[in-house]
Amino acid sequence: MAAVTLLETRGLSKSFGGVTACDGIDLALPAGETLALIGPNGSGKSTFTAMVSGRIRPDRGRVLLRGRDVTALPAHARIAMGMAYTFQITSVFADLPVRENVALALRRTVRGEGRVQAGTDRTLERVGLLARADQPAGDLSYGHQRVLEIAMGLAQNPALFILDEPTQGLSEPEVAEFVALMDALPAATAVLLVEHNMDVVMRLAGRIAVLDAGGLIAVGPPDRIRADPAVQAAYLGTADA
């Protein structure tokens, strides 16, 4: 193991009123790797990312970031340690200009409003939203709002980028743009990607983790996952059809 383990979960579990959403999940994500999390609806993917990011507390288990136990840390403190998070349901500052949305992502770490605005312009240029910088974010199309949210993540230059179903509801060209953005991430950035679109998963993921009914049933490189009979039974067999 040459690569530094950036994120590690040990026995991460969560139940909601008797329904087990996640059951003892052990995963490790080295710096620079893209790990795709797949599984049928309700298999616990979003619950898992919410526990990693600190949005919900696990019942049992631990989350380690750069070897440090962050299980007790609130979400904002984990973000400050180098995480960025995009919501499954698009969440931007709808009444604020596009520019201010990105500026808010930068302003926490970048000092000086001049530098914040320069960084904002660079980020908006990179994702192709610079021409719309002064519109309220809520006036953007759905696809552009998703792109804006990804831009807010990019602006933070995260060590770990968590994306919860980023391509949901995007058109094919928009999905291609998203894949290009992910390709252009710095090599050291680790990505935890919850994704239903198998083309995107196969294109981006270094490894794939498969969840079913709250349990981790397989982890490995895309080829092995594709060939795994348990995975085919649980997920791919139906999704590929």
């Binding site: 949005r55 931007v92 009444d95 807010m152």
Partner: protein, 314 residues
């Protein structure tokens, strides 16, 4: 950057206009202006929490009264000079706001409104309970010594207006600077989408507490100044009416705008002043006007100006 220069021109211009008004208005209106300016400081304090951070408190009378009683009791019973009592009033308000915020911010939305309302009610009852010192509903008049600041006798109309204008201008320019600052923009982000702000790494719980303390302290400063300038401290300023009034002023003037509080206070003040001369049912006139404004300009006067003519309005 152009917006920053516009903002400086706007706020500087308003202060200059107010100074001109203060110098030229007839005595009756000059007296009104004094009261409006002090109450506008209260409204600006309220606006910081409601308009900019998006937290609707129904208990700001607690902070206004904490400043007023902090000033009045330390001057009348403790024998402090006006300057020292002013500091005591502000400190009392900051302390009360810190404690109230730490507890009330465990709730949100309607629960937050109810909890702040209850805290203010508890504050009011506390004032009545310690009637031996506070003189309860009857209140008390401040000694002359508590109304001399930096060599000026604030019992005179002219000095009082100058003091009110100075206080207002300082707070007005300070809140304008705050809304353009990192902190101000982050508070707006919390108002717009708290979950998103937290997931950008902002400690929203701490920032909301900061907002409550800033807002409560500014409200308390207004309460202390009101006592100093008008020489009276009474429990009526701690009643629920004084929690509702700033909400009304800010809603009418334009929540989340720097000029809204001043516009709202002046509007309500003259509306009641004018309608009470026309009819005994002046509250009805005020009520109808309020309904009309909320129907046709739900973002308040300044909000309407921002939407129609000046989108850069801070």
């Amino acid at each position: 950057m152009i917006d920053a220069r516009r903002s400086l021109l706007l706020h500087g211009g308003i202060v200059a206009c107010l100074a001109l008004l203060a110098a030229t208005l007839p005595a009756y209106h000059a007296g009104n202006l004094t009261r409006i300016l002090v109450l506008a400081v209260y409204a600006m304090g309220y606006n910081l929490l409601f308009g900019y951070t998006g937290l609707l408190s129904l208990g700001h009378a607690l902070f206004f009264a904490a400043g007023m009683y902090g000033f009045g009791l330390s001057a009348a019973l403790g024998g402090l000079s006006a300057g020292a009592a002013l500091l005591a009033g502000v400190a009392a308000a900051a302390l009360v706001a810190g404690l109230t915020g730490a507890l009330a911010l465990r709730t949100r939305d309607v629960a937050f409104m109810i909890v702040t309302l209850m805290f203010a009610q508890a504050g009011y009852l506390t004032i009545l309970y310690f009637g031996t010192w506070t003189r309860g509903d009857e209140g008390f008049v401040l000694p002359a010594a508590a109304r001399r600041l930096a060599g000026f006798d604030l019992r005179g109309d002219g000095a009082r207006l100058v003091a009110a204008l100075t206080l207002f201008s300082a707070c007005f320019l300070a809140t304008a600077a705050l809304t353009g600052s990192r902190l101000g923009r982050t508070l707006i982000a919390i108002r717009e989408n708290e979950d998103r702000a937290r997931m950008l790494g902002y400690d929203t719980a701490r920032l909301k507490l900061v907002a409550v303390v800033l807002s409560g302290t500014l409200s308390g400063l207004a309460g202390a100044a009101y006592a100093m300038l008008f020489g009276y401290v009474g429990a009526s300023f701690a009643t629920v009416q004084y929690s509702i009034l700033p909400l009304l002023w800010v809603l009418l003037g334009g929540a989340g705008t720097t000029v809204g509080p001043l516009i709202g206070v002046a509007l309500v003040f003259y509306l009641i002043d004018w309608s009470s001369r026309v009819t005994d049912a002046y509250m009805l006139v005020a009520g109808v006007a309020l309904i009309g404004l909320t129907l046709f300009a739900p973002q308040g006067v300044a909000g309407l100006i921002r939407r129609k003519a000046a989108p850069w309005l801070p």
